[in-house]
Symmetry: C2
Subunit: 210 residues, 2 copies
């Protein structure tokens, strides 16, 4: 009982046992103002998610580049295109980021509606946060997948004789790299959305509960 | 005002304006029991995270396989090993899953302590959930990265002449595949941990707040 930590826990225990008084609970005006500021941050983050989803998909889809590749027998130059849909990893990436962009667009509109009616915000939040968590996992995995394959394209792997392709398809690789960077930004936005939801929920717990 | 949805929202607004009465708030005994069941689920999930982290890392690290590969000029057979550390994607995977396993071990112990003192659980929860979200992103990205590179090893990519290696290094590929599957399970456990935290937090919000 002499240490600070133990004293803190026993105090918390006592507080839980106390009956709640109306003065512990924050007023409706303060709660509404807090809801409004959370809803505003939510709208901005969801719009950023929509924007990053659209930008990542557009940059990835427009990455096609055709180069003349020499083949040894007979000595010809043949045009060989590099497209995102030649790799399953990039197809998954486009699918995941498309879903993220669409989800961002829909939830931005719903969050804008919640901004007009702050009382409905916590109810909306509890529905969104599950999808936010799932989509965060999907977008993070898509970023990792495209990043892993893109890195082989950039550096190659001498152990298994996978040669690098970015020395030939420079423009294609710049598109892939930019798209992965934007998708990483989208992942961070989704993480912030989940953390904002958690912070907003924890703000609504009365202090006597701790 | 005639639609059900509008009526529901105006009712919610009225409820927020109402002053809270002590009968709205759940009793300390009920709250403690609820905390205890959440803490028990938390301990089980965190132990599963620890186990999946350790299994994924051990299976990945022990994947070394040496095969005799024919080289054309001069016609010799030379031993060529396949190891996880020949690919940066698998090194990142091992690093991420090691961190997840270590984090799982530490937080299992702390959660066990919280199980003995349910009053301290919500306070612990609010500290863990931020790291849970960040680690979820890291583990999901690691699973995606290793999965993307592993898929090229399994199927190859004819467009860029990256040949498949799983026809030669079968044992190595089985290890990689098993490790990725366990890591996917770890990602699901982390997602459940985040959702459990959110559900636990939302349970502590008094009903009159909605």
């Amino acid at each position: 009982m002499a240490s600070t930590e133990t004293a803190g826990h026993s105090e918390a225990g006592k507080l839980v046992d106390k009956a709640a008084t109306p003065s512990d609970i924050r007023g409706p005006a303060e709660r509404a103002a807090s809801s409004r500021s959370f809803a505003a941050a939510d709208v901005v983050l969801r719009f950023l998610l929509f924007a990053s989803g659209v930008v990542a998909v557009v940059v990835m889809v427009t990455s096609k580049q055709t180069e003349l590749i020499p083949i040894p027998i007979p000595p010809f130059l043949i045009p060989r295109p590099a497209k995102f849909n030649q790799s399953p990893a990039f197809i998954y990436f486009v699918a995941a980021l498309s879903v993220a962009g669409l989800y961002g667009a829909i939830t931005t509109l719903i969050s804008l509606f919640a901004l007009c009616k702050p009382a409905s915000y916590p109810r909306l939040l509890s529905h969104f946060v599950i999808f936010d968590v799932l989509l965060f996992g999907i977008v993070a995995a898509a970023t990792g997948t495209a990043g892993g394959v893109g890195y082989i394209g950039l550096k190659g792997n001498s152990h298994v004789q996978w040669r690098k392709i970015c020395d030939i398809y420079g423009e294609f690789c710049r598109h892939i790299g930019a798209s992965i960077a934007v998708s990483l930004f989208g992942s961070v936005v989704l993480a912030l959305l989940v953390l904002l939801s958690i912070y907003s929920l924890s703000k609504r717990i009365p202090k006597h509960s701790y």
